[in-house]
């Protein structure tokens, strides 16, 4: 495929077109995109995929702008896939990432793509996984996947990345009780932002709170979860972040966790794909047979119980 060569050469427009293809809901596009991904996956790059999430208002984009600038200044190539939360259920969306990552978006060593989340599961859009495969093949050293923290999204996002980072603000330690269950399990690094000016004390205290809370969550096989203090505005703490990322990646590779994770993720995605296909197939069958309204009416008339109706419809739909 001509597109494959262009992507591997790193041609910006080709990468962009390819991402459009994998995000497209059009049948023919999906066909091409499957072929494309099958080709690209044979030529993997060396990207490290890092997930960033966190509640709104903690300075996530400012952090990414700041950390990204640092990486680019160290001659890394950086791809960013931003899932924009501002989409609406009806109507289109306004994608504002460009107004939040002004400096790095100018740099020739970055590729920044934002995608409206369209209200799909956990804010991860269709095609995010494929887009990261494209950027990997195109030779980007790091791929950031940015999602907004709405609970569910972390779990899906963490199944896309090699390392998952949660960004929090000073003072959020108190909320830890509420959010820790799911997230602490999935996140590898906790970054406490806004360690600057008047908030410095508060930020250190929050970091300490996280550290003590996380000590209960030690896993035997993985590296201890890390808590880091940064200031996106003053660009401090960035070396620590990259050092920690590299450390975790190296450790995980050494212990085989890195590959294990990727294998687990592959299983997860295969399962998701299969479920999706089955679900859409079943939905089609259900609608075409019109069994639900038919049996629902019978239940209403007390001709059969709801459970009998469910059982009959299920059997009828699954045979064939």
């Amino acid at each position: 495929m001509e597109l494959v060569d262009k992507i591997i050469k790193g041609e910006r427009a080709a990468i962009a077109k390819a991402i459009t293809l994998v995000e497209s809901s059009k049948d023919t596009d999906q066909q091409i995109s499957r072929e494309l991904i099958s080709e690209l996956i044979k030529k993997p790059g060396k990207s490290i995929r890092v997930g960033f999430s966190g509640p709104p208002g903690v300075g996530k984009s400012t952090f990414i702008e700041s950390f990204g600038s640092y990486l680019v200044s160290q001659n890394y190539k950086l791809g960013i896939l931003a899932i924009d939360p501002s989409s609406q259920i009806t109507g289109g969306s306004i994608l504002g990432d460009k107004t939040r990552m002004v400096e790095i978006s100018k740099n020739p060593n970055t590729f920044i793509r934002s995608t409206p989340s369209r209200g799909t599961l956990g804010g991860i859009s269709m095609g995010t996984r494929e887009a990261s495969i494209i950027l990997d093949a195109a030779g980007y050293d790091f791929i950031f996947i940015e999602t907004v923290g709405v609970g569910q999204s972390e779990i899906v996002a963490s199944n896309l990345v090699d390392i998952f980072t949660l960004i929090v603000g000073p003072g959020s330690g108190d909320e830890l009780q509420g959010i820790k269950k799911g997230i602490t399990e999935y996140a590898d690094i906790f970054i406490v932002n806004k360690n600057d000016g008047e908030l410095k004390m508060e930020a250190s205290k929050t970091a300490a709170d996280y550290k003590s809370a996380l000590s209960y969550y030690k896993k035997l096989d993985a590296l201890e979860k890390q808590v880091l203090l940064v200031s996106a505005i003053e660009q401090t703490g960035m070396e620590d972040v990259i050092k920690t990322i590299n450390q975790i990646i190296d450790q995980n590779k050494l212990k085989g966790i890195f590959d294990e994770r990727r294998a687990d993720q592959l299983e997860y995605w295969i399962e998701e794909e299969v479920k999706n296909i089955i679900a859409s197939d079943i939905t089609k069958r259900l609608t075409s047979k019109g069994n639900i309204p038919k049996y629902s009416e019978k239940v209403m008339k007390n001709e059969m119980s709801m459970y009998e109706a469910v059982e009959t419809i299920t059997k009828d739909t699954l045979k064939q």
């Binding site: 910006r12 427009a13 059009k26 939040r100 978006s105």
Partner: protein, 717 residues
Amino acid sequence: MTNKSNNGFNTWQKSFEKETKKNFSDAKSETDEGIDIKPVYTRDDLENFSFVENNSLPGQWPYTRGPKASMYTNRPWTIRQYAGFSTAEESNEFYKKNLESGQKGLSVAFDLPTHRGYDSDDDLVMGDVGKAGVAIDTVEDMKILFNNIPLDQMSVSMTMNGAVLPVLASFIVAGEEQGVDKSLLSGTIQNDILKEFMVRNTYIYPPEPSMKIVADIIEFTSKEMPKFNSISISGYHMQEAGADNVLELAYTLADGMEYVRAAMSKGLDVDDFAPRLSFFFAIGTDFFMEIAKLRAARTLWAKIMKNFGAKNERSLILRTHCQTSGVSLTEKDPYNNIIRTSYEALSAILGGTQSLHTNSFDEAIALPTDESARIARNTQLILQNETGVTKTVDPLAGSYFVENLTEELSKKAWDIITEIEELGGMTKAVKAGIPKLKIEESATKKQAKVDSGSRVVVGVNKYKNPKEPSVDVRVIDNNRVRDDQIKKIQAIKKSRDTIAVEKALTNLTNAAKDETNLLIPCIEAIKLRATVGEVSKALEQVYGRHFAKSLSVSGVYGKHFEGDEEFMKVESKIKEFENLNGRRPRVLVVKMGQDGHDRGAKIVATSFADMGFDVDMGPLFQSPKDVAKDAIENDVHAIGVSTLAAGHKTLVPELMKGLKEIDPKSKIIVFVGGIIPEQDYDFLYENNVSAIFGPGSNIIESAEKVIDLISDNLSKE
């Protein structure tokens, strides 16, 4: 005595209901401000006031009727026309001509690079030099600007907020080198940074250091320049950005309160500086509302200043400059603008303004020509000399309607002011982005009313002129201006004492680290011929440059079109597009260069999104190259360029070049909207622009054209 209980009113009400076939209680019309206007007002409507005092007199508490006892009967308002373009030489010529024709004060418009603290030779400002105002790089330019204009006799108003320090310093040094001591300089510097963060975006530093600079200037002028107004607290740009009159009034006064606090925090007594605070309001087409706004503003400010503990009567009095609304001007049927401006001017006069700028009719498309500037000035001269409006002070006092409206506006504004105060004042509110969002919401509503036809704009959405007149406009060759400025900068840099300049700039940087009044080291640097850009950068080292986060409203526009056929037609075209192409049409809306007026871009973004487009919003101050990269990486179908500062002839071709550089086969289409003289249309089309939308364009129609263009373009593949 209550009228409603008497027979007279009942009889009137019956007649009214018979004539209109409507219940009296339903016969109200709601204004943009959410005020219900009744078909008739009576003496009853003068009761239960909490702000307006029925028996007050001009020049007396609460100053509703005017700051002075005699008002125009003694001396008419000052005709102060805002102008400036290209080089200092050309602006100076223009000023001198205007002064000869009856203008009394000068008002300087600076170009965008000067506002944002860049020298003309900076790559970032390529398209903007000399375009929307005059370029000032050093004190030499300032001296040329006022050549043969004696600064001890002429009051000079300067619209400057971002680069206030180097510009005011240059003005002071220019005076000094003319032989005029700073204590004799009179005039005003706008110095109102808070509204820049809300609407106009010509800031340089973040809010806190910017507020410190404002306070430094208030402190310096209160001690050293007794005839100079240290600040002009401006609502003008809020209304221009789409704020209704309550928002304009409330936010302006709330800004004023924040400046008072900033100055007091420097240890100044409120009466030391308050008499030198001045205001600046926009006057739009809602005739009585605008009159009431000025009356309400004075009433509220007196109350506010009393609460601050002001003892000097002059501290309580709000004095204001007004300008007729630029946003009410239309590109279509442009001579209508002369009429609009005349009514707006009359509103300002009946409201009791101290000085006035009347817009030229061609300002919806370009900078005024000598001829259009003359008509604008004459609008005021006719009011002063022919109509008799100067003969009575506050002639509308006692009008049931106007007094009631003054009270209503005061009440509504006071509620908003109280809200802002509860948030901790305007700096905090601005940092949280609240006023900006409220103004954008109001702007979007107004636009929706015009587009849906529920608000009539003559010559635009009704009574269209079948034969649009063509109008000659002033053309600025910004490349020539830029070359001239660069030559001047180079010559100055060669002849000045470089070591001394560097030392002065280091002093300035150091001063920014502590509490020193920055104007003093600034004057030193400017005297040694440091440039505006160098001075700004010296401070930037400590303060950094501010980048605004952008919040957007959604759903506001679409709400006005529920069930609207045109709107639904575009919606369904977009759905069809999505089904056919597997994604929604995607448009990148951008501002390029130093033009920070983003109302238009924001309205387009939010309304396009409401119709079903995916809209990428670019940051302010982007270079064409950056825009091209964004557009290609996000694989957008189209780029919408919003331009209000005349930089399009340089910036659009650069964008086209940028796109082709990254992707020679790029099929991204480009459309342009904003203030574009018809003379430039051919040039833009030749540069492959697909569509141009001038001021007053209907957004739904524009959206339909864009989706059609995108579809056509794709079907060619």
